[in-house]
């Protein structure tokens, strides 16, 4: 190619013109045609109660499908909202979105939101905070658009400030015939047991519309009626409630028409608290003959009495007070105790524990699930002295006979009796075991045997044979016990054989007396003459027990050892009032004495109402979780015969049952509640002292249990004398239980939370959004059309940048090339000159 002056000129002009053209294009800033711009896409999903789940799920699926057409490196976020909002998906690419959520029928819902209000303003603000403004963006709102909180119109103008397109997918409007409604439900919030009060519905519907109104109480239908709306669009219907048992009842009413499915907008609920005698579940060994059961029934209390074998958890549901009467822990399986614990601590049922020889220490309560519930620990305040117990077991041939009707040998039953008896002993107690026929054999010398139960279980096997001679065995046992360190010394004799004559036993008798040994003799079957042995057992605190039914042996051994080795005080005890309670009317009356009681000590939070002269608790209470627990270590049966004959017995028994009841509301507390947009406002009025005055404590603790059983603690603050306020934000509609347990005061009531503002929203129009649609700020989205990003003027920086870069490159290239073209002839000339010189 030959360089001519015109060539560089054409080139440089062309280069400059190209640069000018590119700068002009940059000034115009068009979008790039060949590549889909990445998007910042946010879906705002309205999950408030007024939105139908089917529509939410369908809207979500359509939105996910629509994102398949977007650029693969677009970012996607999902914000679910109601009264509050949660970022459920935080910035994933559309590719990831399709892979993870493309085939899921519903949106992920891992974060709880409160569906009882609709706050579109806050969710939109959250979306703006979430947007990456470096990218094109779009927001898709899936909502009915009716706000019940916040002011959307405040934030809508901001859309034009952002380079985003705002789409709105709304559910179809209801048909022209408006849905019938239950406008109100008039129902007493408190009734008395046995009453059947009326309820009144106020209904609204279009003229000519036919509907069915139904009502159920605690899930059981009791009323249904076909109605037809006449000229007046509102209608009043009255129904009679069934007779109400004491407790908290949930009344649900619904209006149905056509094929319309049940929804929150077609139902109304109310809670009725029925006051009346507590419903009692009695679990004891003598459900038919117990004076407690008989007298409660005579007093008008509904009592369900059963023995432990017939207990089932379902009975707890319709119970206000559970009475456990002198039962050892082993009489119910562990899961039954756990069910009782749940009923008391989480459902607020009352527990009245009546003691006796088989309860507390004697019932193996120490460390048990039951003891966790009680205000008392099954242990004396003063430790018991150590004991030395020698088991003297007959292994003669007659012990091999089968016991009728047990089908086991006497020896096997005797072994079982020893096995259970050792459970009552403390590890530091001394124990020994001598077996005998005609001669005694010491299987275990007297010593501390911490692993004794295990030893008996694994190694204690005997083959009965031979005759019976008691005297040598007794002498051996007495000799062993004579060397014992423990002060309390017991021989526990189990035999079915021949007993020597009185004169032969005389030396042993003097030794027993001298060494302070109690002989407890359990004699199986008919013995020809027991008088010699009877003489021995009269020494000290011994006892002779002829046993006709061999099967009774383990329990009698247990009982005898229990009396001696657990903290039981036998003998007359006069109760003294220590701390007053509502039902303890008898502060000024002399209380009848008790014949005995299990010695226990109080837990730190226990209220001790009655004590013995030694200061041992005789009646104690506390709250275990939500339920009140009252314990009487003496019980109300064999150790309290004079209480049963007392002229105040009826008041005492009824007072105990009512005071413990989970359905009891102390008159010192009154609770009112009101649904507001901020939540449920609780007002508590509280009294204290005698005579009653306003309670002026700084705050009040209360517990609210939601329909799922979760408990939330709240603090109500003092506003005026006796007046406390608290605010609670329910998350779901349903029956809420409210408990206050404070200084012995108890309150349990219920309220039904339903999102009334969301219900009212169904009648409203989404004015703010409809207005924004008219102005073109918001675009109604038809799921069949693609979603496009915003194209605000300053959002196309990508195109300008590239065009300007090209312009710069073109201009610089032109300059370089231009310089090269212009200087080349001069260079050639210099080279030619150099060549010529050389």
């Amino acid at each position: 190619m030959k360089f001519t002056p015109s060539a560089p000129m054409t080139f440089s002009t062309g280069g400059r013109l190209t640069a000018i053209l590119l700068v002009l294009l940059a000034l115009w800033n068009p979008s790039l045609p060949l590549k889909k711009a990445p998007l910042d896409c946010i879906i705002l999903l309205d999950e408030s109660t007024s939105m139908a789940q089917e529509f939410i799920n369908a809207g979500w699926r359509k939105a996910v499908q629509a994102t398949a057409d977007l650029s693969a490196d677009s970012h996607f976020s999902l914000i679910r909202f109601g009264a509050d909002s949660a970022i459920e998906i935080d910035t994933v690419t559309t590719k990831q979105l399709q892979a993870i959520f493309g085939k899921q029928p519903s949106p992920p819902r891992t974060i709880a939101i409160n569906p009882n209000l609709t706050d579109i303003e806050q969710s939109l603000r959250r979306a703006f905070l979430q947007l990456n403004q470096e990218e094109n963006s779009l927001i898709l709102l899936i909502s009915d658009g009716v706000e019940t909180s916040g002011t959307l119109s405040k934030v809508l103008p901001l859309i034009s400030e952002f380079p985003t397109k705002f789409y709105w997918l709304r559910p179809p409007r209801p048909s022209s015939m408006s849905r019938p409604r239950i406008l109100s439900l008039a129902v007493p919030n408190r009734t008395l047991s046995g009453q059947a009060p009326p309820i009144t519905f106020e209904l609204q519907g279009d003229s000519g519309l036919q509907a069915m109104i139904t009502a159920d109480l605690d899930g059981s239908p009791f009323f249904n009626k076909k109605i037809r709306f006449s000229d007046t669009s509102s209608l009043s219907v009255t129904a009679q409630l069934p007779t109400l048992a004491p407790g908290i009842h949930l009344l649900s009413t619904r209006i149905r028409w056509g094929e319309e499915p049940d929804s929150f907008s077609t139902s109304r609920h109310a809670v009725i608290q029925t006051l009346g005698p507590a419903r009692v579940l009695y679990i004891g060994r003598k459900p038919t003959t117990s004076p407690v059961v008989g007298d409660l029934k005579r007093g008008g209390w509904p009592v369900h009495a059963l023995d432990p074998a017939h207990f089932r958890a379902g009975l707890l549901e319709s119970t206000d007070t559970i009475i456990i009467d002198d039962l050892p822990v082993e009489s119910l399986p562990e899961n039954a105790w756990q069910q009782i614990r749940e009923a008391v601590t989480r459902q607020g049922k009352g527990l009245l524990l009546l003691g006796g020889p088989h309860a507390f220490g004697g019932g193996g309560y120490r460390g048990s699930t039951l003891e966790e519930l009680l205000p008392l620990i099954s242990e004396s305040r003063i430790p018991l002295p150590r004991a030395a117990v020698m088991f003297l077991l007959d292994k003669s041939g007659s012990m091999g006979r089968d016991a009728v009707p047990a089908g086991r040998s006497r020896m096997t039953i005797a072994r079982q009796a020893v096995q259970e008896a050792v459970k009552l002993l403390q590890p530091e107690d001394e124990t020994g075991l001598i077996v005998f026929d005609t001669t005694p054999t010491t299987l275990l010398p007297l010593a501390t045997h911490p692993d004794l139960p295990e030893w008996i279980d694994r190694k204690f096997r005997l083959q009965p044979h031979g005759g019976t001679r008691l005297l040598p065995a007794l002498e051996t046992a007495v000799q062993s016990l004579g060397k014992a360190e423990s002060k309390q010394r017991i021989i526990l004799l189990i035999s079915d054989g021949y007993i020597e004559k009185k004169k032969d036993l005389a030396p042993v008798a003097s030794l027993l007396k001298e060494q302070g040994i109690d002989l407890v003799a359990l004699i199986l079957g008919e013995s020809p003459d027991m008088s010699p042995l009877e003489q021995l057992t009269r020494i000290n605190a011994g006892r002779l027990l002829p046993i006709s039914e061999v099967i009774q042996l383990p329990s009698l051994v247990h009982e005898e050892l229990l009396k001696r080795r657990t903290a039981i005080r036998l003998g007359e005890t006069l109760p003294e009032v220590k701390e007053r309670a509502d039902f303890l009317f008898g502060a000024s009356l002399p209380w009848p004495p008790l014949d005995g009681y299990a010695v226990t000590r109080a837990k730190p939070d226990a209220h001790i109402h009655l004590v013995s002269r030694d200061g041992d608790p005789l009646l104690a209470s506390h709250f275990a979780g939500l339920g009140k627990v009252v314990a009487l270590p003496a019980g109300l049966d064999q150790w309290a015969p004079r209480w049963q004959r007392w002229n105040q017995w009826g008041r005492l028994l009824g007072g105990l049952v009512e005071w413990t009841s989970g359905n009891r509301n102390d008159k010192e507390l009154a609770v009112n509640w009101r649904i507001t947009t901020a939540g449920v406002k609780l007002t508590i009025d509280a009294l204290e002292g005698q005579p009653p005055g306003w309670n002026t404590s700084e705050s009040f603790d209360l517990v609210i249990q939601d329909p799922g059983g979760r408990a939330t603690s709240l603090k109500a603050r003092l506003m005026a004398p006796g007046r406390f306020h608290a605010l609670f934000s329910p998350q779901v509609a349903g029956l809420y239980h409210l408990f206050i347990n404070r200084n012995g005061q108890h309150h349990h009531s219920g309220f039904f939370y339903q999102p009334v503002y969301e219900q009212e929203a169904l009648d409203k129009h989404p004015e703010a959004l409809e207005s924004a649609v008219t102005k073109g700020i918001v675009i109604p989205w038809d799921p069949g059309t693609p979603l496009k990003a915003g194209n605000g003027q300053w959002k196309q920086a990508g195109s300008r940048f590239i065009l300007l870069l090209l312009a710069l490159f073109t201009y610089l290239s032109t300059l370089v090339m231009e310089r090269e073209f212009l200087t080349a002839p001069r260079c050639l000339k210099k080279i030619t000159e150099w060549k010529n010189k050389s």
Partner: protein, 480 residues
């Protein structure tokens, strides 16, 4: 030194302009730097530090910062009251304190505890605060602020946080009150609490309040007290925030006592029940409520009326008892038809609205609403009814429904959010504040367009200059 070749200076300028546009450089007019300043006007900004009130220290520091940062226009907005706003320019920085002073005058302030909603509008945002509001920590983290001016060191404060009154249980002619005092500081505080009725001192207490605790004190007043009840912590100025050392309750005697005019021969049980209700006084002439047992329906009423028309013959109503939904809000007692007697004569209800009915038989009717007339078609002397505990409750409910306020147990309170009296500043971590991008501002957009336009102009000049240079060069060669 050789001078640069003029065409190359032009080319360098064009390239520089292109690079400047590519870098996204924005335009800041030397005479047009604006900022929105969020000025905290919560109660704690009235705290008096050794050098002065927090708000005035903050105003002085803000003025200095505005000048130093070259801000020419400032939009000063209240952090807590959306309606408060000041538009100031550079000449008014010295007056900033005086202009902000009205925001901090003593008086009742309505604060809903909400901070300005995020995101903030596009532009540069500053915050001036003492940092005593714990909610600011998360707000600052998201607000994308350019500047935070924080003032205040004091931590100790005690405040009167509540004053409430209620009729006494033991004596209905007396009011029982409670005052709550809080110590939001870190040390035990000893203060004297004085209670005044108008200017007369009623009671005083010497208090020792542990840190973080609230204690309450009770008092009594006659139920007919009127005027202002004031609870004040003394000595004044013992803590750095005197504004919260006092609460005042405006007492209107009418809140506590209802004057009733009784007309006609009412059943003795009704008279007795009215007399037994706390807060009721029987008045001659006009009262808050007219209770009439005359046979003539009272018209031209000035006050609400409870009308118990006399009955010549009565019967036990049949059908379920139903309170209408419009009666909701009153804790009506549970009634039983067996206790009730109603008129055996059928009389028209007209356009009256039924409040209580037995089946279709109206027992209590409401005529009109302004003021209402409640016609009670129940024999208020019926033995079965007057023996019931529900009897006085029914009358109290009717009174409350008629006069639309609590009669049995009115409660008056004034209180202060304990959070407002917390003055201990929290250091706001500004470095964590996430800048909220609002994209390039429109100013910046137009600036880049201007740069491009200038580049375009220079390119056109360059092409003209280059073409003419080539042309001259070609002419010179041709001449040679």
């Amino acid at each position: 030194m050789d001078r640069a070749d003029p065409p190359w200076r032009l080319r360098a300028l064009i390239v520089s302009l292109m690079l400047a546009t590519l870098s996204g450089m924005s335009w800041t007019r030397p005479d047009g730097h604006r900022a929105t300043v969020w000025f905290d006007d919560s109660l704690s900004m009235n705290t008096v530090e050794p050098a002065g009130a927090r708000w005035s220290l903050a105003a002085a520091r803000l003025a200095s910062f505005l000048g130093r940062e070259g801000i020419t226009h400032a939009d000063i907005r209240s952090l807590n009251h959306p309606d408060r706003q000041l538009q100031l320019d550079g000449n008014q920085w010295n007056d900033l304190g005086a202009r902000l002073a009205p925001w901090f005058r003593p008086g009742k302030r309505e604060i809903d505890g909400k901070l300005p909603p995020l995101p903030l509008p596009p532009g540069e945002h500053w915050l001036v605060t003492d940092g005593a509001n714990p909610l600011l920590v998360s707000w600052v983290a998201k607000a994308g602020l350019k500047q935070i001016i924080q003032v205040g060191e004091a931590t100790e404060n005690s405040a009167v946080t509540g004053l409430g009154l209620r009729r006494s249980l033991s004596s209905p002619r007396r009011l029982e009150g409670v005052i709550r005092v809080m110590n939001s500081g870190r040390q035990v505080v000893d203060r004297k609490l004085v209670l005044k009725h108008d200017k007369r001192q009623l009671e005083h207490w010497e208090l020792s309040i542990p840190p973080g605790n609230t204690i309450s004190r009770g008092f009594m007043l006659p139920a007919d007290s009127m005027g202002h009840i004031t609870a004040t912590l003394l000595p004044p100025g013992a803590d750095p925030l005197p504004s919260d050392d006092q609460l005042e309750l405006d007492l209107k005697a009418s809140e506590w006592i209802v004057k009733i005019s009784l007309v006609g021969n009412c059943p003795p049980a009704l008279d007795a029940a009215l007399a037994a209700l706390p807060g009721i006084t029987l008045a001659m002439g006009d009262g808050d409520l007219l209770v009439t047992c005359s046979s003539r329906r009272p018209d031209n009423r000035k006050a609400p009326v409870l009308w118990f028309p006399p009955m010549t013959s009565t019967l036990t109503p049949e059908g379920p008892l139903t309170w209408s939904s419009s009666s909701i809000g009153i804790d009506w007692p549970i009634l039983d038809t067996r206790w009730l007697r109603t008129s055996a004569e059928n009389s028209s209800s007209g356009d009256a609205q039924s409040l209580l009915s037995a089946g279709l038989h109206p027992l209590i009717l409401q005529h009109g609403n302004n003021p209402p007339l409640l016609e009670v078609r129940l024999d208020m002397g019926a033995v079965g009814l007057i023996e019931q505990p529900a009897y006085p409750l029914l009358i109290a409910g009717l009174l409350e429904y008629a006069i639309k306020r609590a009669v049995l147990d009115p409660v008056e309170t004034v209180h202060r959010d304990p959070l407002e009296s917390r003055i201990e500043p929290i250091r706001l971590d500004w470095s964590e504040s996430r800048a909220i991008h609002h994209g390039q501002s429109k100013d910046a957009t137009s600036f880049s367009a201007w740069l491009l336009a200038l580049t375009l102009g220079l390119l056109l000049y360059d092409i003209v200059r280059a073409t003419s240079f080539q042309h001259r060069r070609g002419t010179r060669k041709a001449t040679k």
